[in-house]
Amino acid sequence: MNQIFAFLILSGILVSCMNGRINVVVNAAMSSAEAAVERAISLIAVVSLWLGIARVAEKAGLIDAMSKAIAPFFRWLFPSIPKGHPALGCILMNLSANMLGFGNAATPFGLKAMQELQSLNEHPDTASEAMCTFLAVNTSSVTLVPATIVALRSSAGSRNPSEIVGAVLFATTCSTIAAIIGDYIMRLINKKLR
């Protein structure tokens, strides 16, 4: 991130130097900073509203209910976790929260899941197979309701903010399937090498 940030600013300044339009830099910087703060103010509305709803869902136990519903689909992904181990519960809670678009509620479950998986890990400094599978599914982002994106689109003045839900569902399904297949292949290759 640091390199990207430096690259954007430094190359911008160098190019405007070469074009002899150095005053563009200051103007762009000032107007962008102003736009950023204006955007942040309008963000307060969206983020507060959504996190309020998310908190209600969390308190009511909706994430619990969701994790019960998806449990059968995820059992077979983690053959190395013994039946009834708390690790699986934490993984399901994390994925459920992610699916419902409550990213903030997902992280604590995710970290707890890693602790539980670490207790099953024979080599504590090396990732276990179950950890790799969990992170593959997690980072590929299993989203059913991209609520934040829809909210941000509406605050930016979109005429139909939720029109992208179908597209997100398609893309996220493709990438989750790709992650599961990729993880499976890598697991097989690793077994062969040993």
């Binding site: 600013i9 074009n19 830099v25 309020g52 209600v56 998986l117 593959a136 893309a171 990438s175």
Partner: protein, 177 residues
């Protein structure tokens, strides 16, 4: 199933989710209003904490674009961009996405402000952000939290999934809209 039918269906998703959440919470006897206010307060803090990220990203992207540096990048990358049929901003966005969540969100909002959320690039940015996650950040934080140093094939698999997401997003946004 046509794109229009899907479109009509999805405008129901969020109202329906809110409805289900409130009915479910009411049955479970959650004090809905207080809980809502509690969560909304956290939202306020989160938005305020986001301001420095937004200022940084908006300024960096603003300088990069207004100076004309982005045009040079586009002409350098044009063979790749032609191949994947995506604008340079979105390629940059997908790289930033895997590193920092707030920064990527900032960049998406910048795209909304410059090109409009209903433009091709605005829709593509929305789909991309919605269907990917901060791969490097999650892998670093999750493994770091339990002291795992050798992450084995996690990063290649994560990046592969991100790449699939990118290609799928470009394909579906071109197809649907």
């Amino acid at each position: 199933m046509t794109a229009e039918m899907v479109g009509a269906g999805v405008s129901w998703v969020i109202p329906l989710l809110i409805f289900v959440v409130f009915v479910y919470a009411h049955i479970k006897k959650v004090s809905i209003f207080e809980t809502f206010v509690d969560g909304a307060r956290e939202g306020l803090l989160m938005a305020v904490r986001l301001i420095p990220y937004l200022v940084g990203i908006y300024v960096a992207v603003g300088i990069f674009r207004e100076s004309g540096a982005i045009d040079i990048l586009v002409s350098l990358l044009s063979p790749i961009l032609f191949l994947v049929k995506a604008p340079a901003e979105v390629l940059l966005l997908s790289i930033v996405r895997s590193l920092s969540g707030p920064a990527a969100l900032g960049m998406m909002l910048e795209i909304f402000d410059t090109h409009g959320p209903d433009s091709f690039i605005g829709r593509l940015a929305s789909t991309l952000i919605g269907s990917t996650d901060t791969t490097f950040y999650i892998i670093a934080v999750y493994f770091g939290s339990v002291g795992v140093r050798r992450t084995r094939y996690s990063i290649p698999v994560g990046l592969f999934a991100d790449f699939v997401s990118f290609v799928a997003s470009v394909y579906i946004v071109r197809k649907m809209f």
